[in-house]
């Protein structure tokens, strides 16, 4: 650990002049870290230089009136439902005791590994008119007309929430585990009932985490193209693709993405404003955990039934269906190449997770040391990438990289003449990882930033007064406090990259095929059942970080 990093952690006092110089240095580093994420945002802003008025008129007349309310309904619905699911499940597994709790503790995370579009496809295949369930209902009752349609607003919201609630679950759980029980205990000694304690103390204290999780869910929902396409539910994102691929206008597609981002900025500002002034720091005394709440037998049964239901719907049943398809195709499709697919997926996901967590940690520390407006705006912009539809972001980032590559190539040619080697920055793993950083910085940053709230100034001061300073402060005091948050961030990013398609597809080096690329190859011409094999492999590989998380004890408190 360098002394500079230690200084960063401590917020080292210095003379005013050098402090000012130091401040700008940190802001410059933050800016540097944000560059990859800022590039696509700037591409989008630049597209407004030439607004495509003709297309906008068409959109305003025929597309936007439908797409804007649709998108709002979807985002609000998915955010609410996954917020309620994630928070209540986290509450049950972190605060209460019931049979099977230890299993569900980590098992409820597993739906994270199923790509949303895969869950959507399985749900539509199983529950639509021609699916096995309704066919059976018709065979037994003669009609299935009363069965609610899955390809509807409600169906889309429920399925997407089942796929996305783990973001909230993971963050809320980490909040409850590290402070909830103690807070609740304190509330109860002050005379509040358990329910009142939950509502008035534990939940409000966990708010930054829950809000962070919901923000991720909302952004993911806005950017989603695959799942809404399966439901044929028109959103802003489908409109963006329609403009691009149907009307051949990349610039109008970027402009629409810009409007989408504006919505996100406003939503995040409202959230931030509503908790302005509140401080959410609290300490943790690991040596003295408060006991879990004991539930009455009836409540234990209810809790078990609820968590089992969610687990079945969001993970067990879909995976069974996928496994069924995968087994049918394994004989013809499974071969030795799969080891390569898995290995490459692991390298990308592992490398990306490491890169993004380190960047998030640095950014969060800089934000803590220099709570300057500049850094805040930078980070806000840099975490926008998660709300940009994947392909638009991939193109918005790749095109500037290619332009840079062309410039370098020209320079090289004029320097070395015809002997100059050909360079291709954009077809390298480095660019793929940078693009992941642009897309998933929010996923790493939100948990890390929430976690850093917990390391209060007073903890630092106490440690310093005991002679623990510099690198030791980071190692002995900060690291244990941040462990859960870092592990959470790494897991989320890892699994997200495993599932990511558009960036991997367009920026991967030649021959660099991954599991997600396999899914693309199969689904491109509608062979969804064949895509089950790589999808199952994604789920199984996604279990690795979850298992590590559990093993390392960072997860199980």
């Amino acid at each position: 650990m360098t002394s500079r990093a230690a200084a960063l952690a401590e917020g080292m006092p210095a003379s005013r002049l050098s402090m000012r110089r130091g401040r700008w240095r940190w802001i410059a580093i933050a800016a540097l870290l944000c560059v990859p994420a800022l590039v696509p945002v700037l591409s989008i802003v630049a597209a407004f230089a030439a607004p495509d008025l003709d297309i906008w008129r068409h959109l305003a007349q025929h597309i936007l009136p439908q797409v804007v309310p649709n998108t709002l309904k979807l985002v609000v619905g998915v955010a609410l439902l996954s917020g309620v699911l994630g928070t209540s499940l986290a509450w049950l597994t972190a605060m209460c005791e019931f049979p099977g709790r230890r299993f569900f503790d980590w098992a409820l995370l597993l739906p994270l590994a199923i790509p949303t579009y895969v869950l959507a496809f399985v749900a539509v295949g199983f529950l639509d008119f021609a699916g096995p369930l309704q066919s059976w209902l018709r065979a037994v009752f003669g009609s299935s007309a009363w069965f609610p349609p899955i390809r509807s607003t409600g169906g889309t919201i429920v399925v997407m929430s089942l796929a996305l609630y783990p973001y909230v679950y993971l963050l809320a759980r980490s909040a409850f585990l590290t402070q909830g029980r103690r807070a609740l205990e304190a509330a109860r000694t002050l005379g509040l009932s358990a329910a009142a304690g939950a509502w008035r103390v534990a939940l409000p204290m966990a708010r930054p985490w829950i809000a962070g999780g919901i923000a991720l869910v909302g952004m993911e929902t806005l950017a989603d193209f695959g799942a809404v396409s399966v439901f044929n539910y028109d959103t802003f994102t489908t409109a963006i693709y329609r403009v691009w691929s149907g009307l051949f206008s990349m610039s109008a597609a970027l402009q629409l993405s810009g409007v989408l981002l504006l919505f996100v900025v406003i939503a995040l500002l409202i959230e931030r404003r509503s908790r302005a002034g509140a401080r959410f720091a609290s300490s943790r005394d690991a040596s003295r955990e408060a006991p879990r709440m004991s539930l009455s037998p009836a409540r234990q049964v209810a809790a078990l039934a609820f968590v089992s239901l969610v687990f079945l719907l969001a993970f067990a049943l879909p995976v069974l269906q996928l496994a069924h398809w995968a087994v049918a195709r394994a004989a013809s499709d499974f071969d030795a190449r799969y080891f390569g697919f898995v290995a490459r997926s692991l390298v990308l996901a592992g490398g990306g997770a490491a890169l993004i967590v380190v960047a998030s940690l640095l950014l969060a520390y800089i934000g803590r040391r220099e709570p300057h407006r500049c850094t805040r705006i930078l980070v806000r912009l840099a975490t926008m990438g998660y709300a940009i539809p994947g392909t638009v972001l991939a193109i918005g980032l790749l095109v500037p990289v290619i332009v840079l590559n062309n410039t370098l190539q020209e320079a090289l040619r004029s320097w070395l003449g015809p002997a100059a080697p050909t360079i291709m920055l954009h077809g390298t793993l480095f660019t793929v990882l940078l693009a992941y950083a642009a897309r998933f910085l929010a996923v790493g940053f939100n948990p890390v930033e929430s976690g850093l709230h917990r390391v209060t100034r007073s903890i630092d001061e106490a440690a310093i007064s005991l002679g623990v300073t510099g690198a030791a402060l980071l190692r002995k005091v900060h690291a244990p406090l941040l462990r859960t948050s870092l592990a959470t961030a790494a897991t989320l990013v890892f699994v997200d990259i495993m599932k990511e398609m558009p960036i991997t597809l367009i920026a991967r080096p030649f021959g660099w095929e991954t599991l997600a690329v396999r899914v693309f190859e199969m689904t491109a011409e509608g062979e969804w059942e064949r895509a089950a094999l790589p999808a199952v492999a994604i789920v199984l590989t996604g279990l690795i970080p979850v298992a590590m998380l559990t093993r390392r004890g960072a997860y199980v408190a």
Binding site: D128, A130, F231, I395, G427, F430, P502, F510, E521
Partner: protein, 355 residues
Amino acid sequence: MNETLTESAMLPSAARTDLRRGRRIAALPLVLVACLAAWGCARAPEELVVYSARNEQLIKPLFDRYTAETGMPIRFVTDDAGPLIERLAAEGANSPADVLMTVDAGELWFAAQRGLLQPLDSAVLEQNIPEHLRDPEGRWFGLSVRARTIVYSTERVKPEELSTYEALAEPQWQGRLCLRTSKKVYNQSLVAMLIAQHGEERTEQIVRGWVQNLATDVFSSDNLLMEAIAAGQCDVGIVNTYYFGRMQRDNPDLPLRLFWPDQQGNGVHVNVSGAGVTAHAPRAEQARAFLEWLSSAEAQGQFAGANLEYPANPAVEPDERVAAWGAFKASPLNVAQAGELQADAVRLMDRAGYR
């Protein structure tokens, strides 16, 4: 830098080791980047590079065969046509790509329109590929034909009731028609070709008629659409033949059959999966030879057969499962019109409420 040095000079030795280790760790990513960049640049002196929107399992076997026969290695990257075209455009003269391959004529037209493909003067290609399945200026060539035709339930529809795409807009199909989403380029091309035939006004009436006849919301795939017909949700729909072929292969008792519309008129709407040589291809000559080979009798059977499509080269017989659906008259209109009129088609479908 200076500042850091003085800092380290003032530190106790343990911390200095710490610092040095930190430096070494910090250098690692740089080394990694250098390696990766070098790896990305490495390129065999003689090889073809293909950007392909046709998926790997359909093209790789052919690439391997070509390499075995000619010794020319082929490297490729697959993605949707949209991103591939943007990438090609941005790369410009520095692009490593020799060939662009897509699964829709409109996409090839768009790439040609942006100046990304070069005209070829190839007697072989002109002889092998019929005129209406290639660019009039020779910038791209269809390699397999995908017919988008009518599929119907053998239980609830008699083939005599069917006639044309246009007739599906008539009231007798009220509540009996299923369609795939208009977001899929295949439907955009179909409507573009209807515009080429009838003009916008008449086409809009037809599309409105379709929308009124829908039994249920449009589907996201041809497979789901056919399953819906088989399950009785609707009686008739429009699909690409190879989706039907695949489903029939997996389930020979499928209560569905294909119908060739408009046999007295313009014929069945067809689209192509095809390819062109890129404007800045480093190996344009070899790329042309490769396309010529793909259009030859030798390769055509496999190119089309792998996906149960029709060979673009009329001298080559389709796969026997495909031939079993019967011969048909295909639309003689040049498939390039699918691209020219695509944006109009999309706007028209938006106006008509066809999602």
